[in-house]
């Protein structure tokens, strides 16, 4: 490597740190904009996913996802990482042989970390028995609790892991000890401070109240996240759809009850029956393709949103005007209030979450099994859609053709030799 190779240093802010570190060679490749090479490799992985017929399909996925992490240091949508993780988690959720495979557990944890509510995923995993004998699972779960400041539950997760004899035992013990050390240090340093740290970390609004909506328009104002637990997403406004009356807007304020929360803690770890992995909520600025032809422009209400903002107050000083300068004639200007679209809120559309897709998938499978399905694709739909990107028939055909060619040329070589 040349010493002048400082590409990584120039874009250090755009590189997401990875737990396992990055291979410097793939970092160079990714940063030097060798899109062709990256696209080729991705295509190779995509076709390998479809053409693989061995007995360890997870292997391809595992390598593909690790490659994706290394090759897209900035993350982002074009890396397809979340899609891939979601696919692989749903694909093998029924495969008992993978449930305690470290690779699969690792992928599930990565999936959880990419979601806005990792705890749900961990609980789901526990209920399904995914990773219950893997130390890594308990470590990830406990770390999530710790991030949210819930040391008690983090500790409980480790105890659960120790009870289940999760492997590797040493690692689990070591992390448990480290947690205890951190907690005791935390308690020591915070002994004089007030106990506000123990409050449940919920989303806080700056104003402590949710924004009201006015008239028929149900404008959803973004939750302004200020709490230390911005990762834990309570979702939407609680007073949504409820007629706003006096104090009800304060419903976000939760009074902490220590004894109550401890009781909840014990029930938290009990296995729940989850039908499907919990969703990772719809991300911002991510709209699913939908029909646009019937969409109507939202009509203006008679009051509220058509009001012009107050004009800025006149300056109290006399602005300096050069003597030679003639004042331009003021053209009468009247802004048509109907054109004022400032601050019109986007209507909350129906979310198409991964959970819904998954449940749909479940339902369809059941229908197929019970034989009352109405639709049947007579083409290999699964193969076309199984990766992160869609394949076309020709690509599949080409893949098979090249495989055949390679086999034939091998045969010929064998005969010649």
């Amino acid at each position: 490597m040349a010493e002048g190779d400082v590409e990584w240093e120039l874009s250090k802010e755009n590189i997401q740190p990875l737990r396992r570190g990055r291979a410097i060679s793939s970092l160079h490749q990714a940063l030097s904009h060798e899109q062709d090479a990256i696209n080729q490799q991705r295509q190779a992985f995509e076709s390998e996913l479809r053409m693989y017929d061995g007995d360890d399909p997870l292997n391809v996925w595992d390598r593909y996802i690790k490659w994706t992490e290394q090759s897209f240091p900035c993350g982002g949508k074009e890396s397809n990482l979340t899609t891939l993780l979601e696919r692989v988690v749903t694909l093998f959720k029924e495969e008992k042989k993978y449930h305690n495979d470290p690779r699969y557990v690792d992928l599930c944890i990565k999936f959880a970390e990419n979601c806005s509510e990792p705890l749900d995923i961990y609980r789901y995993m526990q209920a399904q028995g995914i990773g219950v004998t893997q130390a890594g699972f308990y470590i990830a779960w406990a770390e999530e609790y710790e991030n949210q400041g819930n040391y008690l539950k983090a500790d409980r997760v480790y105890q659960e892991g120790l009870m289940k004899f999760a492997e590797p035992h040493d690692k689990l013990l070591q992390f448990h000890k480290a947690l205890q050390a951190r907690v005791s240090r935390h308690i020591l340093t915070n002994v004089d401070e007030d106990d506000s740290d123990d409050e449940p970390k919920e989303l806080e609004r700056v104003s402590l109240a949710s924004l009201k909506h006015r008239g028929k328009k149900k404008a959803i104002a973004p939750v302004n996240r200020t709490g230390s637990a911005i990762k834990c997403f309570t979702g939407g406004l609680q007073s949504q759809g409820v007629p706003v009356l006096g104090n009800s807007s304060n419903s976000q304020l939760v009074i902490f009850d220590e004894s109550k929360s401890e009781g909840a803690g014990t029930s938290e770890l009990r296995a729940q029956s989850w039908m499907a992995p919990p969703t990772h909520r719809a991300k911002e600025n991510e709209q699913k393709p939908a029909k646009w032809c019937d969409v109507k422009m939202p009509q203006k209400t008679k009051f509220g949103h058509t009001v012009m903002p107050a004009p800025p107050p006149k300056p109290t000083f006399q602005p300096f005007v050069e003597e030679s300068d003639q004042l331009p004639k003021m053209t009468p200007c009247k802004i048509n209030p109907a054109v004022n679209t400032v601050l019109s809120a986007r209507k909350p559309c129906k979310e198409d979450t991964p959970l819904k897709r998954l449940q749909e998938h479940h339902r369809q499978q059941e229908e197929v099994e019970s034989g009352k399905t109405q639709e049947q694709s007579v083409y290999c739909k699964e193969l076309l859609l199984s990766g992160a990107t869609e394949f076309c028939f020709e690509e599949l055909r080409a893949e098979r053709y090249f495989k055949k060619m390679a086999q034939e040329s091998q045969k010929v070589e064998g005969q010649e030799a």
Binding site: P17, A23, I24
Partner: protein
């Protein structure tokens, strides 16, 4: 120091390089979380803010090492300084920061100062330390409590001072190596490199 002079002498060069190591080691220890961040204090040097340890034991240790190093730098007998980060529990080497030192031994004979302003040298040093800070973008997370060790490679005929002991190179097998920038005082040239455990990727 010699900032009023235009050139640089062997003594000044040794001092500058030793100073770089003092700040460099402190930054690595801070960046990699070997010691808790609250035991560091911020100072401004090389026109940038740097973290220096306040841990008394560590401080004396580093002062001793740097003083010894300065002596060796002055005698031009040191070849390498290596900072090894090992896992406390398993003693496995996780990271290895290597600084190769090339000494121009002719400087020992002629005492004439070399033409290189301190400002240029400090600029070079600054970019090395910046790069050390930037390495967190690709280095793996150190998940376990870690310890560090300093290894100094010297010429063979040197006597080992008290409290120093001979050790192996502590190489990481299957490591990923990244060269960092280098700087030179025109008497001592320092090449930096970091090695870390290879990722388990494809």
């Amino acid at each position: 120091m010699t900032s009023t002079l235009k050139g640089i002498t062997l003594k000044g060069s040794a001092e500058l390089v030793a100073e770089f190591f003092s700040f460099g080691i402190n930054s690595i220890l801070y960046q990699r979380g070997i010691y808790p961040p609250e035991t560091f204090t911020r100072v401004t040097h090389y026109d940038m803010s740097l973290q220096l340890t306040t841990d008394p034991k560590l401080k004396t240790y580093l002062t001793n090492v740097v003083a010894q190093l300065k002596e060796w730098l002055f005698e031009c007998t040191v070849q390498k300084l290596v900072l090894v980060i090992t896992c406390l529990e398993t003693n496995e080497v996780l990271e290895r920061w290597q600084f190769d030192i090339e000494c121009d031994k002719t400087a020992k004979e002629s005492s004439a100062p070399r033409e290189k302003s301190i400002k240029t040298i400090q600029d070079e040093i600054r970019s090395v330390i910046r790069q050390i800070t930037a390495t967190v973008t690709f280095l793996p997370l150190l998940e376990t409590p870690c310890a560090f060790d300093l290894l100094v490679y010297t010429d063979k005929d040197l006597e080992v001072p008290d409290k120093w002991e001979e050790s192996g190179p502590q190489i990481i097998d299957q490591s990923e190596e990244v060269r960092l920038r280098s700087f030179t005082t025109s008497i001592h040239k320092v090449n930096s490199m970091v090695a870390y455990k290879r990722t388990d990727s494809v």
